[in-house]
């Protein structure tokens, strides 16, 4: 009895500490872009935060629930198309469109999950890729949503309701910061909830979980719906920010990998993994492409590939384990 209470309170203490760290980080990120006036850097931070949130969304399904989806750009694309079409065609303000995009993406995730969740391991992963490819091919050939020509988002003037700004990047920064913060918070809450426990059980040992009364299929469906929702919202934000969407840029296999990669590099199934992973991967990728890619000799690709291999082999638990190492040493010294 004593030991359980002790463990419970240490868990609560850890969780409270996580909230505190998150709060501090949030405060820093709110203030961070103010002294930085370089547009490229601001853009870099925005893309990094966006992928941090996206990857956290992926993490909910892939990391916590153990279903490695390599086709998540499908939900990203659905969110982007729904929101963009509502804005361009229906003049519906993006904030509404984003939520709508997320909901439709979540619905699609449920639709996909229903048949696909009976597959295991590599079969599941490949099935997610196939579903995403089908989505891509259908979008490419569907004239109603623009087909291959994509959709161009016209600038309707500076407006907070439409979330459109001529040059200023600051509002977008706070938008994606909010997005990333919400995904983090949801992941944090789910970690400590009953469904979070179910997911860990499913991930670790399906047979044992079933024997404990965990409804496997139900847990997976909840995970995929939540994950799909956030991925869709992220896609909607992206569509508005870039101002142009087409199947090649938002429904591609490459993008699907990019959504999963930060979580993998940072540490799947951990709270901070996707954020650490995004903070390392995205700047590295963008900077090496901008400053090394202009020669066209493929060096930036080699760097990118080498980084993925390096982290996967040397730190398979993810970069978050390095942070724990440092913290452990600090505590040990104290």
């Amino acid at each position: 009895m004593d030991r359980t209470t002790g463990m419970n309170s240490s868990i609560t203490r850890r969780r409270r500490r996580e909230l505190v760290v998150a709060g501090v980080l949030l405060a820093i990120l709110i203030v961070l872009p103010l002294p930085i006036h370089d547009v490229y850097t601001r853009n870099l931070i925005i893309i990094t935060l966006l992928f941090a949130g996206l990857s956290q969304g992926w993490n909910i399904l892939g990391g916590y629930c153990g279903q490695i989806s390599l086709g998540h750009s499908l939900y990203f694309g659905i969110g982007a198309y729904v929101s963009t079409m509502m804005f361009v065609g229906g003049h519906i303000p993006p904030p509404v469109g984003m939520v709508a995009g997320g909901i439709v993406a979540a619905a699609a995730a449920l639709l996909v999950g229903w048949p696909v969740f009976r597959l295991s391991g590599h079969y599941y992963a490949i099935a997610t890729v196939v579903v995403q490819e089908i989505g891509y091919l259908l979008a490419l050939n569907w004239d109603f949503i623009g087909g291959a020509s994509g959709i161009y988002v016209p600038f309707r003037g500076e407006s907070w309701l439409n979330l459109q700004f001529r040059i200023d990047k600051l509002p977008y920064h706070y938008l994606v910061l909010g997005f990333a913060a919400v995904t983090w918070l949801v992941a944090w809450w789910l970690e400590g909830s009953r469904i979070g426990f179910s997911w860990r059980a499913v991930k670790d040992d399906v047979v044992a979980a079933r024997s404990l009364g965990v409804r496997i299929f139900h847990s997976k469906m909840v995970a995929t719906a939540v994950s799909g929702f956030f991925t869709g919202v992220g896609g909607a934000i992206f569509g508005l920010y870039v101002g142009y969407i087409d199947p090649d840029s938002i429904l591609s296999g490459q993008l699907a990998i990019l959504i999963a990669l930060p979580a993998v590099l940072g540490g799947v199934g951990t709270l901070w993994g996707p954020f650490i992973g995004a903070a390392v991967l995205i700047p590295l990728r963008e900077l090496s492409s901008s400053y090394l890619g202009s020669s066209g000799n493929g060096v930036d690709l080699m760097l990118y590939g080498a980084l993925i291999m390096g982290v996967a082999l040397l730190r398979p638990q993810g970069l978050v384990s390095l942070v724990n190492l440092v913290r452990g040493r600090a505590h040990g010294a104290a």
Binding site: V130, G305, M309
Partner: protein
């Protein structure tokens, strides 16, 4: 639709299907052996294509003659990849499944970047081979000779794989595949088997690449065009099954050809993907999957 058109469609699908099958075979072999999906498989094929192109440029010899050389090169490359990367990936203690996916994935990107670095991004073609651009007309059905040759070589490769499975090495492969924990007990060096298995898988896709270079273009992104079809073929046939890879390859090739006739050709891949998903609903481990 006229009979000779139907026949033409069926045979074109068959010939392409044999290539898909051979590309898938190597992938299936590696997975069956050690549970690793090689996401750099398409890139290995691309390396083989560049290898045969370079050798052809230097010596002027027909790809047929260069085939064993390139196969041996790819065998060596496969073994090297195993020893340098995969062995390490297998001994990882956390998130092993994910590590394997992303190690080979990173390798794929690295190889692609390297080939662009070494050769530039330009498209290359092998233009003066023995069979280039020659077609045989059999009762109104046209058989493009480079593809027919590729199909024959693919079948020969499958026969070769079958023959290998009967040898002691082949039986060791099978034993390791069935129970990789226990094989040490019967004196099989598992590590060596894995390395050779990788070599064989790479050599197999290398053969496919050499034959492909006879009628397809060579560029750093060629692997990507075939990769997804290869994974679908393997999963459809069942990971670990050579016969499954052959059957699935032929099926996929046919479905693609027929879908292109019936629907808009830009949607031809939807047909094969749909079939794939449909089969998986009833047989979650693929048609002949053993894992």
């Amino acid at each position: 639709m006229a009979l000779d058109t139907i026949l033409q469609v069926v045979i074109s699908g068959l010939l392409m299907g044999l290539i898909y099958a051979l590309v898938a075979a190597g992938l299936s072999l590696i997975f069956g052996l050690m549970d690793v999906v090689n996401f750099a498989h398409g890139e290995l094929m691309m390396v083989a294509m560049y290898a045969v192109f370079t050798l052809w440029q230097m010596t002027g010899l027909d790809p047929f003659i260069l085939l064993p050389v390139v196969a041996a090169l790819l065998f060596g490359l496969g073994v090297a990849i195993y020893r340098l990367l995969i062995a390490r990936a297998l001994s990882v203690r956390f998130n092993r499944g994910m590590v394997q996916i992303f190690v080979t994935f990173g390798l794929a990107i690295f190889i692609r970047g390297f080939m662009q670095f070494w050769y530039g991004g330009e498209f290359r073609s092998i233009t003066t081979t023995w069979l280039a651009n020659r077609t045989a007309n059999v009762y109104g059905v046209y058989l493009p000779l480079p593809q027919v040759a590729a199909g024959v070589v693919c079948l020969a490769a499958f026969a070769g794989l079958l023959a290998i499975s009967r040898t002691e090495f082949g039986r060791a492969l099978e034993a390791t595949r069935e129970d990789r924990e226990a094989v040490a007990l019967i004196g099989i060096d598992r590590d060596r088997i894995f390395a050779l298995g990788w070599g064989l898988g790479a050599a197999t896709v290398g053969v496919a690449g050499v034959m492909l270079a006879g009628f397809y273009y060579v560029s750093p992104n060629v692997g990507a065009n075939f990769a997804l079809i290869a994974y679908v073929t393997v999963a459809l046939g069942g990971f670990g099954s050579m016969f499954g890879a052959l059957a699935a390859g032929l099926l996929i090739g046919e479905v693609e050809a027929i879908t292109a006739q019936i629907l808009e050709p830009s949607l031809k891949q939807v047909g094969m993907f749909a079939i794939y998903l449909a089969v998986l609903m009833f047989r979650p481990r693929g048609l002949f999957g053993k894992i």
